[in-house]
């Protein structure tokens, strides 16, 4: 294999004998590098919030992926024109446009960012694509709010919050339309993306000081209302889809109603209709199938994946369970693991079920052992047999420390299969997925419906019997003991739509979509 004959080897070996590097020069070179790096430092944003915003998107377009066709080309042209115009105005050329990706309100480059966004919207014609763009921008606004809060520039927060609401409203109009058409997957994507926007905003609220908090909380409430309506639209879309499927049943609908337990052999109840958020280490990547924190998920062919995801990265994925019981990821991003927290710990699960045992500080709820600690907040008279909702933190060893245990009275609507849905697929410690009780939803099917999923969400929607003292435990301002680390703060929201991760009958062969999209480059 090594075709190097000894004579040639000897010649080349001469080059291996090089004098040592001059330490003085080496030190100077290093100093120059560090100086250059600090001079080039982009205008500061918290890395997570920004990292790959606008330009990542542009890049994606400029390397068109198969499903994007004419529209993409047109878009690129217009964007190029927009960017050229911008570079004329700002004189900085591509650098200015690039830098605008990180721009925050108040910065010179922020207008560039909004202009580019408008250009993107203007050239997007498909309603679905447009809705998703609006939701991306809403998420971007939430990230900006986080950044502004982090920088203490809270006076600009209301403006950002306002713009976020405009994008959400625009997206919502489309979602309603999609629901009527029975496009469940499209409606699911809208629901997921809205939920991510809410999560990001929640994060901003968590860190906000008293100046920023009122505006952010108001925005969060409206976002959560939008989220609830998106979930409702999704539920309606599924109903329409089901009706359509029944009508055309003989018309060879691909898979009318799923064969759930194919992988595990256990015909688990369908958790269809749930959306989930999951954070953890990527354990494997096989085409468009990832295993994240023990959960197998399928990356939608047009999923928005930020960054080059590799095995070992810590990612956040957001998605839904489709009609076939597959967990479809709509959005994913690489996140930097929190300091000192090996991936997988410091995460939260939210689930509900019956209290099966109370042995001192260890309770068994819904088949899981949870530790009751000093920090555990209990609400209501909880006894064996009580239906409760648990928010627990996953410890490094996989055990669960309860943060909140809420009694849910017998009358409260429960998910059809509270216990089963919580079981992790292969006995791995449960992931971050959260699941919220569907109390207050009219539709029985929608395990996910958040409490105020009704058309006009007001306080009255909160079913009086849902929790003994709901405010205390569930309201956003609640001083969560350890809110900072996860981007998904499921337990702090009034009605986080996220559901726990479904049992996932080992998502089988993954017949779906267009091959290994979404950065699935395996190493």
């Amino acid at each position: 294999m090594d075709e190097l004959d000894p004579r040639l080897r000897k010649h080349l070996d001469a080059l291996n004998r090089i004098p040592p590097r001059d330490p003085q020069r080496a030190a100077e070179g290093r100093a120059r590098f560090l100086q250059m790096a600090s001079e080039m430092k982009p205008e500061k944003l918290p890395p997570q919030a920004v990292s790959l915003g606008l330009f990542w998107r542009l890049k994606k377009w400029i390397q068109p992926k198969p499903p994007l066709r004419k529209e993409a080309l047109k878009m690129v042209n217009i964007l190029v024109a927009a960017l050229m115009a911008i570079s004329v105005v700002f004189g900085g050329g591509a650098a200015a446009a690039y830098a605008s990706q990180d721009a925050l309100p108040g910065s010179t480059l922020y207008p560039v960012k909004t202009v580019v966004e408008k250009a993107e919207l203007a050239v997007t014609t498909s309603p679905q694509a447009k809705a998703e763009l609006h939701l991306e921008f809403a998420q971007e606004r939430a990230a900006e709010a986080q950044a502004l809060v982090a920088q203490g520039r809270t006076n600009l927060v209301p403006q950002v919050a306002q713009n976020m609401q405009e994008h959400l409203q625009a997206a919502e109009q489309v979602a309603t339309q999609l629901a009527r058409q029975g496009d469940a997957d499209a409606a699911a994507r809208v629901a997921v993306m809205t939920s991510v926007a809410a999560q990001k905003l929640q994060e901003a609220v968590t860190h906000a000081d008293e100046h920023a908090k009122p505006a952010l909380e108001a925005a969060l409430q409206r976002t959560e209302e939008a989220q609830a309506r998106a979930m409702k639209a999704y539920a309606e879309a599924r109903q329409h889809a089901d009706a359509n499927a029944r009508q055309t049943a003989d018309n060879s609908t691909p898979e009318p109603s799923a064969q759930p337990g194919e992988g595990t052999g256990t015909p688990e109840p369908q958790p269809q209709g749930e959306i989930f958020s999951l954070k953890g280490a990527v354990e494997s990547i096989t085409g468009n199938t990832w295993v994240v924190n023990g959960q197998t998920v399928t990356i939608a062919s047009d999923a928005k994946v930020k960054g080059q995801v590799q095995v070992g990265d810590t990612v956040e994925v957001h998605g839904y369970v489709d009609a076939n019981g597959q967990t479809i990821v709509v959005q994913a991003e690489v996140v930097t693991p929190e300091n000192g927290q090996p991936g997988g710990s410091g995460e939260k699960v939210t689930f509900q079920g019956a209290v099966e045992a109370q042995n001192g500080n260890q309770w068994v709820i819904s088949g899981k052992t949870v530790n009751i600690t000093e920090e555990t907040k209990q609400h209501g008279q909880i006894a064996i047999g009580s239906q409760v909702m648990v928010v627990a933190e996953v410890q490094a060893d996989g055990s669960l420390n309860a943060k909140v245990i809420n009694l849910m009275e017998a009358g409260a609507t429960m998910t059809p299969e509270p216990t089963d849905t919580m079981m992790p697929p292969n006995g791995t410690p449960e992931p971050t997925d959260t699941m919220m009780p569907p109390n207050g939803t009219p539709e029985p099917t929608d395990t996910m419906m958040p409490p105020n999923g009704t058309p006009e969400p007001t306080d009255t929607v909160e079913p009086p019997n849902a929790t003994p003292e709901p405010t205390d435990t569930m309201m956003p301002p609640m001083p969560t003991p350890e809110p900072t680390d996860t981007v998904e703060p499921p337990n702090a929201t009034p009605e986080p739509t996220d559901t726990m991760m479904p049992p996932m009958p080992t998502p089988t062969g993954m017949p779906g979509g267009g091959g290994g999209e979404g950065g699935g480059n395996n190493d």
């Binding site: 010649h11 590097r21 070179g29 650098a95 070992g312 190493d523």
Partner: protein, 184 residues
């Protein structure tokens, strides 16, 4: 550096984490210096190559480009391109006949061996310069840096088969040049 580690480092570098950028510099600067020095044989120029490589890396990162993975391969590629450009700009150094003659006639074995080594290095460098840039890259990475074929393929962004072919042609050319020279 493990791929994971490298991916994390890169992600942090993209977020302009100075610690990550420093770690990258400290990890690769000595390797790149050695690489450049082997080919260039001049301290100052090798330092310049290292500085330029990292400057390009920073600019790429700043512009949203740069490597997504395979940082090491990327940096060697940049350095290689810089050296190729440098070769184009600079004529190959002439062998210093006087030095050689002096060294050969010297009674001091250390001096003569040092000068002879320099002479040999000069010759090998000149031979490498005669290769195409890609051939040179393969030879240097494979046989001086001792990279595997796969690693070289990553650095060159080529299939392994193409690297093998390049390697084959490169060694044949090198053999021809160096043998001819020694007989000429």
């Amino acid at each position: 550096m493990a791929a994971n580690n490298e991916a994390h480092l890169l992600a942090a570098a993209r977020a302009w984490d100075m610690d990550a950028l420093t770690a990258i510099y400290d990890t690769y600067s000595p390797l790149l210096y050695r690489y450049a020095m082997r080919l260039l044989g001049d301290h100052a120029v090798a330092e310049e190559c290292v500085a330029e490589t990292f400057a390009r890396f920073l600019q790429a990162l700043r512009n949203g480009g740069g490597p997504e993975t395979h940082l090491k391969a990327y940096l060697y590629r940049v350095a290689h391109n810089w050296i190729t450009d440098y070769y184009r700009r600079q004529p190959p150094p002439e062998a210093n006949v006087d030095d050689l003659a002096y060294a050969l006639s010297s009674e001091d074995p250390a001096l003569s061996s040092r000068v002879l080594l320099q002479e040999e290095q000069q010759r090998v460098r000149a031979a490498l310069r005669l290769l195409t840039p890609e051939q040179r890259q393969v030879v240097v990475l494979r046989f001086l840096e001792a990279w595997s074929l796969k690693e070289v393929a990553e650095a060159m962004q080529k299939p392994v088969g193409a690297v093998k072919a390049l390697q084959h042609r490169a060694l044949a050319a090198l053999r021809r040049v160096l043998e001819e020279e020694s007989h000429g």
